[in-house]
Subunit: 359 residues, 2 copies
């Protein structure tokens, strides 16, 4: 089973076509404008569009689910708002990859990788090519971020709903970038962050923009009361942390063929996950710490780390923690949330956990 | 005389205090929110605020000048809109410095420089410290860019004016990032860009967001007809190109003590200016091309390049070109523009030229 297929249980496939239409239109407009500025600019926009293609549209799915289940009747408007969060996601992915110096995404060159390869072919040194890739990634992320705001302005909403939607987008950006900063600072620090700090990063960097904001935005656009949006935000906080922990477990213990994602990258990078944070307090850490965080980590070394993480209880701890947050999330839903919506959100989390146990 | 003091001739000093108030409030709000997320996030916001301090507020000045002279009666609203363009400017400065790997701005460490120094003090290698600086600069620029949009949403305007203001901001971002991309691509190319290409970059990267957009936005917020805003945009296009050329001449021939800016940095970097583009077609290019673009360029080497640029006529050509664009700008003003506004804009350009001749 493909891990995190849970995301596909949201049952909004028919309406998701509307999101694709908004994104298509956005990129078509941008490319038309870009080519009139310079053909090189068109290439950058094509790279941004490629980076956005093939995503699971998880944030628009959540947003449209909340919108529909709370009585929203204009799926086109919801699709526009969903596309905002997809562009925001794309901006964060592009800039994350720049910060991580990662040249690929979903197995193919990302924006930076594409531009670095291009510079290399044109005769640039490895260092100059990497720099060219960084610059292109930086500009591409800026365009995707600005694009999210631009599309957001075009969502039809007025008065108080408009104010609140602005506030939600703003908070999502503010929180995610703060989380990214903490992530970068913790990665630099000699000491491993505490499990609490790792979860704070997960919430700030992932939960807010991936769960809390899309659910709240969908609810408010549908005209739901603020209390319902608040409940969904509470749900989203814990669900997002569970999701991030599950993603980290997958990134270490998942089968690459199943997940389509390297299961050695996080270990090479020494990514500050709940797994490592827990292990840092155990005797096995002495050996683990000599292996993780090295670009030269071999498949055998990674295998050894996995064994040690299992042995010291880090794996079990992480799975348990994901489960705890998932249950806490479900508890937040309460009576105000319509049964259909609550049911969909519960199924999402339980299939997440089922997949986690089947790894 | 301090070069480009021309910018100070805009006579809006009293109203400029309002812009400072908006910026102060913006940063105070952001820092309060940031510290509630994590003290490390507060530090990043402080670095962003420092980067924005000490700027000449040129874009808000232009915007408020147009607003006032075209009958605008709510300087507080104009100040908010002016602050939007200052934050946008700040975002571009921060990201430009990341792309140029420049650790200082106005003689002091910029955001990246500050974070690189901090990492260095904490024991990071030179390479890791530079990377930490890059990451912080990238995030800081994102926050400043998002902040510009956030503040823009809060400008009170409705209906058609709101739509147009959105379009102007959007186009400014789109154009500037396109210009930055072209700049980066031309810097990588073996061939020197043509003078026409250099001016295209100047227009896209500088003129649109520094002149065209603030003037148009100020006019529209004041309720001026679209034709007046259009005239001002036409003025801004040529004025912005003249300004960029003047800035490049200053960057090579200015006295560091007068300008507060290194006069060797552009030459070390091999920045694609009108000066170099012109010189590339002259016999002196053989010697110039062996000196420019090297991080090891000495003061004596820079002196030699200056002599060669003067000898081959590049300096005179650049000054002439700036003058041509300044005159073309003034010609665009026409009868629709009130005499007071036209007079201020003319004075701005003529003092720019006077300063250029006195270098």
């Amino acid at each position: 089973m493909k891990f995190l297929d849970a995301e596909y249980t949201l049952e909004t496939d028919a309406e998701l076509g509307l999101v694709e239409e908004v994104l298509d239109q956005f990129f078509t407009d941008a490319k038309l404008r870009a080519v009139s500025l310079h053909p090189a600019y068109l290439s950058l926009w094509e790279a941004i569009e490629r980076n956005a293609a093939g995503g699971k549209r998880f944030r628009p799915r959540l947003l449209m689910l909340a919108y529909r289940q709370l009585g929203g009747s204009d799926p086109t408007a919801a699709a526009k708002l969903g596309a905002v969060y997809e562009l925001l996601h794309n901006a964060f992915l592009i800039h994350d990859d720049v910060i991580d110096r990662d040249p690929t995404r979903r197995g193919v060159p990302n924006v930076s990788g594409h531009y670095a390869n291009k510079a290399r072919r044109a005769g640039a040194s490895a260092e100059a090519a990497q720099h060219a890739g960084m610059a292109a990634g930086l500009l591409a992320g800026d365009l995707s971020l600005a694009g999210a705001y631009r599309l957001h302005e075009a969502v039809e909403a007025s008065g108080e709903v408009r104010q609140r939607l602005n506030g939600i987008l703003d908070y999502a950006v503010f929180s995610s970038i703060g989380g990214e900063l903490l992530d970068a600072e913790f990665a630099l620090a000699v000491q491993m962050p505490s499990p609490e700090e790792v979860r704070t990063v997960a919430r700030r960097k992932t939960a807010v923009y991936s769960f809390e904001a899309p659910l709240q935005a969908g609810a408010l656009l549908a005209g739901a009361p603020a209390s319902v949006a608040g409940r969904l935000a509470d749900f989203g906080r814990d669900a997002g942390i569970a999701y991030q922990i599950a993603d980290d477990v997958r990134g270490t213990f998942g089968d690459e063929e199943d997940t389509g994602k390297s299961n050695i990258g996080d270990l090479r990078e020494g990514k500050r996950t709940v797994l490592l944070s827990y292990a840092a307090t155990k005797p096995q850490w002495k050996e683990i710490s000599q292996l993780v965080g090295s670009g030269e980590l071999t498949a055998a070394g990674a295998g050894r780390i996995r064994d040690l993480l299992t042995e010291c209880g880090a794996r079990e701890h992480a799975v348990h923690l994901a489960s705890e947050h998932a249950h806490a999330a479900v508890k937040q839903l309460g009576e105000e949330i319509p049964a259909g919506l609550a049911g969909s959100l519960e199924r999402l989390l339980f299939s997440l956990l089922a997949e986690l146990h089947s790894l």
